[in-house]
């Protein structure tokens, strides 16, 4: 009886001390690691503001300078970067809208209806989830570029990449978590199936739609291989393709390339910072199946 109250504060004090040590250890690991991880991005921003003499000066320079606009201008002069940037925005927007529509319609069909072949469709979607894109890229290219002759068209940039299984699974999960009685209620009320989809199901799926849109937009924005294959003329190139074509060319300054990298990356970083919640749920969508 008498030892217990005396022992308790001692115990909690030692526990507080061990917590403190653990916290110190944790930060001793995490702070340097985080700084190391931030370094490439930081350098990208810093170098985008420098002339090449600054980047390759013998000293280490970690602070931004004032040459960003000059670098952007040099970049524009070299590739017509602005045009490719606009191309990227358009492609990503249209791609995202179409892909969201397609995948949510498919996801809806898989939740709402019993139909012949449903198991097969689901098996296909799950099967292609783990299928490397490289299996289809060559014949896709032959089909689009050679057989259809659609190189350097919006169609070629937007339509072939539209198929994605993750979106269907994501939407399917979202719809299946809604109370199905809602849709029965609408049906009894004589609401057409298409209207049930657009007026009831889609509005209720807004958070999922937001997450999916962000992920799809990001994927399209950063897509490199496919546009590299089908956009060969500079006026149809997307920004990553245009920027990639400059890497390794000695006549282009690294400051200009870094400026391009910043222009490509900064919008997505803003999306990440301000829409983090949806972004995260989009990334983890595949894992929770």
């Amino acid at each position: 009886m008498t030892t217990l109250p005396a022992a308790a504060p001692l115990r909690s004090r030692s526990r507080a001390r061990s917590r403190l040590w653990r916290a110190i250890l944790l930060h001793a690991v995490m702070v340097p690691l985080a700084l190391l991880w931030l370094l490439p991005l930081w350098l990208m921003f810093v170098f985008a503001t420098m002339p090449d003499q600054g980047i390759f000066s013998p000293g280490i320079n970690l602070l931004p300078q004032d040459r960003f606009m000059e670098n952007v201008r040099a970049l524009e002069a070299e590739t017509g970067f602005l045009r490719t940037f606009v191309n990227s925005v358009l492609v990503a927007l249209v791609y995202t809208a179409l892909s969201v529509l397609l995948t949510s319609m498919a996801g809806w069909a898989l939740v709402r209806y019993r139909f012949w072949g449903k198991g097969l469709v689901l098996a296909i979607i799950l099967g292609t989830l783990t299928l490397p894109y490289f299996v289809v890229v060559i014949p896709q290219y032959i089909l689009v570029a050679r057989d259809l002759g659609l190189t350097n068209t919006w169609f070629a940039l937007i339509v072939p990449p539209l198929f994605n299984s993750l979106g269907v699974l994501f939407m399917r999960q979202s719809f299946s978590m809604m109370p199905q009685e809602l849709f029965d209620a609408a049906r009894v009320e004589g609401v057409k199936e298409w209207q049930i989809f657009t007026r009831v199901a889609l509005p209720m799926a807004k958070p999922t739609l937001a997450a999916l849109s962000i992920i799809l937009f990001l994927a399209s924005w950063n897509n490199y291989l496919w546009p590299l294959l089908v956009a060969t003329q500079s006026h149809m190139m997307t920004a990553p393709v245009a920027l990639g074509s400059l890497i390794g060319l000695t006549r282009v300054s690294w400051g200009a390339i870094m400026a391009g990298a910043v222009l490509l990356t900064a919008p997505m970083l803003l999306v990440f910072v301000f829409l983090q919640r949806w972004f995260m749920s989009g990334i983890t969508a595949g894992a929770v199946k």
Binding site: P179, E189, G190, Q195
Partner: protein, 361 residues
């Protein structure tokens, strides 16, 4: 006119039969309750009437028209769901008018119908709120309102009160009753709660495992069940069942020995007595078990638990062989666990069933 007829209605998923041929006639303006334990097929049957589930075979007609291949929306029905099924992204007003708007109903008429439903259900003050901001009872009212605006010939209710707490459930039960007498429309109501069935129904349909066990007015089911299942399902606390054996006939009565009761014997007047030696079950409701000496067959019991509710007490007791018997007794007997009590079964209130659970008459 919206009478409703079911003829040999069946439902199966692959080889599994969910509904085994149901025949039923429901009169215009009648309040019919489908009741049964969960999984008995009552909701499936209701959804088949609504047009939300296919009919494997048989025929459903509403107002004289066969509706097997008629879309749900064209059947002249409205449905209230267990989870209320309110559209979460719409206000109450939008919820009520959604179906009409989507079908191009004239705006003035829609407004009139919505206003009328709001008035009937006294939800005028809630019209601009979203479902999230409503209490369970209010949501249920909106769900009913959404059915009313359709001005249907038949209302279908799928366990509408099972998500409410006990007090609200009683209150909403009264309101649904009032609604029925105000509108005079045919109503079909599904529940697993026999109290709801007893209080609301003009007629009750008792279902078990996809079959109709009995159809009848509430008191008919209570007093004259056709089998042991209905006898046990209707009434609360449920009827006591005592294992028995037929001994023979004596005068106009049949003698049964209560097998878990040592020598206790009860004589019931039956027109068609079973053969001696056949197993039987004697049923007696808790409220009919009489004090010792007041009935025709005395039973000594050991009290297990006593629930004193003020106006009445429920005594949960066991026979010598451990067969449970519930007794409804007058208030505060002060009986305690482990105590021995004696009761008696009045033959006039006792029912007999055969080994298959069919009523012996």
């Amino acid at each position: 006119m919206a009478e409703l007829t079911l003829r040999a209605v069946r439902k199966s998923y692959g080889t599994v039969d969910i509904i085994h041929g149901v025949d039923l006639d429901i009169a215009d303006g009648e309040f019919v309750v489908f009741v049964g334990p969960s999984g008995c097929g009552k909701s499936t049957l209701l959804r088949m009437i609504a047009g939300l589930e296919d009919i494997t075979s048989g025929e459903i007609s509403i107002g004289g028209r066969v509706v097997n291949d008629v879309e749900a929306a064209e059947r002249g029905i409205a449905m209230v769901f267990q989870t209320y099924a309110l559209y979460p992204h719409m206000t109450v007003r939008e919820n009520l008018s959604f179906g009409l708007r989507m079908n191009g109903n004239p705006r003035a008429d829609t407004d009139r119908r919505v206003a009328r439903a709001a008035e009937i259900l006294r939800i005028d003050a809630l019209m601009d709120r979203r479902p999230k901001a409503l209490s369970g009872g209010q949501r249920q009212r909106v769900a009913i309102g959404r059915a009313i605006v359709r001005e249907p010939e038949v209302f279908l209710f799928d366990e509408p009160l099972s998500n409410l707490d006990a007090e609200l459930r009683v209150q909403m039960r009264v309101e649904i009753s009032r609604l029925h007498s105000e509108l005079g429309t045919t109503m079909i109501y599904v529940t697993h709660d026999q109290t709801e069935a007893m209080t609301l129904a003009d007629r009750i349909v008792v279902l078990r495992a996809g079959r109709v066990e009995q159809v009848g007015r509430p008191l008919e089911l209570y007093g004259n069940p056709t089998n042991q299942f209905v006898a046990g399902f209707i009434g609360s606390p449920r009827m006591n069942f005592l294992a028995a054996e037929t001994i023979g006939t004596i005068g106009g009565g049949t003698r049964f020995r209560l097998v878990n009761q040592g020598g206790a014997v009860i004589v019931l007047p039956l027109d068609r007595p079973p053969a001696p030696g056949e197993a039987a079950v004697i049923g007696i409701r808790p409220e009919h078990v009489a004090p010792a000496g007041a009935g025709d067959c005395d039973l000594p019991l050991t009290l297990d638990v006593a629930e004193h509710l003020g106006s009445t007490s429920y005594l949960y007791a066991n026979t010598q062989a451990g067969e449970p018997v519930v007794v409804q007794a007058a208030a505060s007997d002060g009986a305690r666990a482990g105590e021995r009590i004696a009761v008696s079964i009045p033959a006039a209130q006792a029912l007999a069933f055969d080994a298959q659970g069919e009523r012996l008459r």
